[in-house]
Amino acid sequence: MKIRLSYGKWGKVRFLGHLDMARLWERGLRKASAPVAMSAGFTPRPKMSFGLALPTGAESVIELFDVTLDETRIDAENGSIDLELLRSSLTDAMPLGVEVVDVDPIAPQKWSLQEDVTATTWVLAVDTSATGPSELDERVAGVVSSTEIWVDRERKGERRRDDVRPGILDLRIIERGIWPATSELSAWADSVSLLSTDIQFVEATLTTSGRGVRPTEMAEVLRPGVDPWITMPRVVRTHQWIGRDDAPRVSARAGKDITHDHSLEQRLERRSEHSVAGSSGGYD
């Protein structure tokens, strides 16, 4: 039996890296006495598969990972497993700031989590105290109207120059009041607004397949030459888009569903056609 956990990561724990989180989940599953299946071999490991890495320093409404449960252990106990109880005991077992929001059984997957997710949406809290808000408006408009944006970046230890524009699927400044739709994001926005009186929120949907774009790179596009964490003191992942026909259509929280956003869906489809045509496989 395979289950998919979605969890939020907020506050101080955002400074934990992806590998630290993986080790913590291992410990957390043991503390919660979850009947996790173990791999065979010399050093048995719990069978877990993690989704896209969340950059250290970023927060998230929706992180995903899959765990395989051991049927024989479930049967040995009482034949079934209370997923709601597992959800709450896992939240208790993890440090403050990690909250498990859903535990759902999933069908055996053809694709891994990392391959399923083709785009993610972020809200960047941009500090405009150094530049004034109008510059950000202009910059966002400039990015949207441009056809290419070349940046120097590092991938797998190599310096390279890439056009990141095709990877920016959507970019807009969002107003408090209309956004955010959920209480947790609202609390986040309130705490972020304490950092500076000049925080503006920018929503960006960025591709993860092929030459994916990171939120720190988005911040560098908005203010070239400035440390992205000065431009963007906080950033939260609000959606992970699963956009393939044979995969679950959507895994979205925060009051927004991909099926209602046709323009984005079309853009995602175009993007996936493009990447399949443009390279062998298209997934990195």
Partner: protein, 648 residues
């Protein structure tokens, strides 16, 4: 008294491993400060990953937080990247628990597990915004306390600390708390700092350097005298008599980020009477006090449940000597309700086949490597250092290790030991070659790594009178081992230059404080990290202070010399240490006193203590030095002439 978090937080995404600074560990205690409470900041003067697992700090953290009149938080040395950002913005040192400024605490207590961290102690005091010199501190500045193994010679830090605690802290932290609480209640008025220090100096095990006058004549220490009649002329270490009463940590700290010993640790005993003469830990932690096996089991079960770890390390100075080791190990069975069976790791393995059998019993999964510490290359030199392992012991252990599926061995050796000749040094390579030859019978991949450390004599050991080898001599000896190393033997070594600096700090007197201050002012922090260590900072500082490096390091001391730590006692009779030093030079081994008659080292008799050992007979396989016919190691060769400057 506000949290610095909002000022620290924006910096964290810009530094390496920011999880070092966020706290939030499993087992972290929410501190409750209050006006009647003494606030302790427990500080480890190295980076978080090294400091977090420290058991002493974890134990005191809990004991203090359990008291109604105390509260404790923790801090670790910020890495150089964050420190630079903090200094740029005038952000002081903060606790990781609530990011409270260090200067808001009443006590900053450093754990000193080694000497090269001294410059980090100064750096952290300075970063706290507290004057580094104790005599410049005002009544509202925190008290700076040090404890831990290196605190047994705190003289090099005498100018910078208010208090040093000798020995185990479980009981004495409460006695200190009570005195500081009174001081706090009295309003810490002008001039009261001296009074509280004087009160503290009367607590057993507490040493207040400023209460003693030290006189020097040229290079020599002439006298160490209490300034007041009620200040003790000899400070004796504290020892907890029964470990069973102290089942701490009850809430072990499990960090969110990976640390050096990333597993549950359960201490099975304290002290060691094997009597290895180079080993400061073995000398200063006597007598042996075992934890009841039943309590060990409980601590393992609870600790694994609390932390979610699936690995436990049974810690002590020689875990195979724990009389309950077999029963504890065999009782740790896979728990079907947890994912993955817990594994046991046994650090500080004794070198014999029994111990390897034990290791094989607990090892699960891939058997990557096994480490032994014969320490010296020949039986003769091992009788000098009293590490009474025969070649047969070592080869038996290695044979058993290969037979049990291990393919890589690591052997720890010291070089620069008293009376060491090139034959002894070459013996290291020969022993390693012997191990490879055994391994070849089992696997073509058999290889042995030899790890060489330069010996640094420590205070309160029989070798405290020995002049250590200089940098060139250690380099030469490393070369001797390297050129004698045969195929399958890899040689690694510790930087001899760092051993020299460690020597200066280990047996230094109060004047060395000025050297440490200079090294720190020149930017020499994190001296235990090879990327930051530079010997010239130390030699330049010594020269600038008019101090002779040879005086402190390579010079042999004589019996009559007043040593800088002579007013501090680990409970060992000076006569015992001196006789043991002479016995070493005569190549006489000394058996383990747990199972042989007392030879009156002074610790038990002086403190009304006894060894607490559950078993009246030596542990299985534990022949080494216990009822052992020492001649089995082979004929003791002719005495090697020892050049001992002070020997008359």
């Amino acid at each position: 008294m506000t949290s610095l978090w909002t000022r620290v937080e924006p910096l964290l995404a810009r530094v390496r491993k920011p999880a070092r600074y966020i706290g939030c560990e499993d087992g972290a205690i929410e501190p409750r400060h209050g006006p009647g409470k003494v606030a302790w900041l427990l500080a480890y003067p190295d980076v978080y990953e090294v400091g977090l697992p420290n058991q002493g700090l974890q134990i005191l953290y809990e004991i203090l937080n359990e008291r109604a009149d105390a509260v404790a938080e923790r801090t670790y040395a910020p890495w150089v990247d964050l420190e630079a950002l903090m200094r740029e913005r005038s952000i002081p040192l903060f606790s990781v628990d609530t990011h409270r400024a260090a200067s808001d605490f009443d006590v900053i207590a450093f754990n000193l597990s080694a000497e090269l961290v001294y410059t980090n102690v100064l750096n952290m005091i300075d970063l706290a915004g507290v004057p580094i010199h104790a005599d410049r501190r005002r009544p509202d500045d925190p008290l700076v306390i040090v404890g831990g193994h290196a605190a047994f010679n705190p003289e090099p830090l005498a100018d910078f600390i208010d208090v040093a605690v000798l020995g185990e802290g479980e009981e004495v932290v409460s006695e200190i708390t009570e005195i500081v609480r009174e001081w706090k209640a009295s309003g810490r008025t002008e001039g009261s700092r001296d009074a509280v220090l004087r009160a503290l100096s009367k607590v057993p095990g507490v040493y207040v350097p400023s209460m003693y006058e030290v006189e020097y004549e040229r290079e020599r220490t002439m006298s160490i005298t209490p300034r007041y009649p009620d200040v003790p002329s000899l400070v004796v270490k504290r020892t907890v008599s029964d470990l069973a009463e102290w089942d701490y940590p009850r809430r072990p700290l499990a960090p969110l980020t990976e640390v050096v010993h990333d597993r549950l640790a359960v201490e099975v005993f304290r002290g060691c009477t094997r009597g290895c003469r180079f080993c400061q830990a073995g000398m200063i932690t006597r007598p042996v006090r075992e934890r009841p096996a039943e309590q060990v089991r409980t601590m393992i079960t609870r600790g694994l449940e609390r932390t979610g770890y699936n690995e436990v390390s049974l810690t002590s100075l020689s875990t195979a000597d724990f009389s309950g080791v077999e029963s504890v190990v065999s009782s740790i069975v896979p728990d079907p309700t947890a994912c993955g069976a817990p594994t046991v790791s046994l650090p500080s393995l004794r070198v014999d086949a029994f111990t390897v059998g034990l290791a094989a019993q607990v090892a699960s999964g891939r058997r990557s490597g096994l480490t032994f510490a014969p320490e010296a290359g020949t039986w003769r030199l091992r009788t000098v250092i009293n590490k009474l392992i025969t070649e047969a012991d070592l080869y038996g252990a290695v044979e058993s290790a290969y037979a049990n599926g291990w393919s890589r061995m690591k052997l720890y050796f010291l070089t620069g030991l008293p009376t060491e000749t090139d034959d002894d040094t070459r013996g290291i390579a020969e022993l390693a070659a012997g191990c490879v030859a055994i391994g070849k019978k089992y696997t073509s991949r058999a290889n042995v790594t030899v790890s060489l450390g330069g010996f640094v004599p420590k205070a309160h050991t029989p070798f405290q009178w020995f002049g250590q080898n200089g940098v060139d001599e250690l380099r030469r000896k490393i070369g001797v081992v390297r050129s004698a190393a045969s195929k399958g033997v890899h040689v690694k070594w510790h930087d001899p230059a760092a051993s020299l600096a460690e020597g200066v700090a280990s047996r230094g007197d109060r004047r060395v404080g000025r050297v440490i201050e200079r090294v720190w002012r020149e930017g020499g922090t994190f001296q235990e990290w090879s990327e930051f260590f530079r010997l010239d900072r130390w030699t330049n500082a010594l020269a600038a202070e008019g101090l002779d490096v040879e005086w402190f390091t390579t010079r042999h001391r004589d019996e009559n010399e007043l040593l800088p730590w002579e007013h501090l006692s680990a409970g060992l009779h000076r006569d015992f240490l001196w006789q043991d030093w002479r016995a070493a030079l005569d190549e006489h081994g000394l058996p383990d006193c747990r199972w042989t008659p007392c030879y009156d080292c002074g610790v038990c008799t002086g403190d009304g203590l006894e060894h607490v050992v559950a078993s009246p007979i030596p542990p299985a396989g534990g022949s080494q030095g216990t009822g052992q016919d020492l001649s089995v190691g082979g004929r003791v060769p002719e005495a090697i002439p020892v050049r001992l400057g002070a020997r008359t």
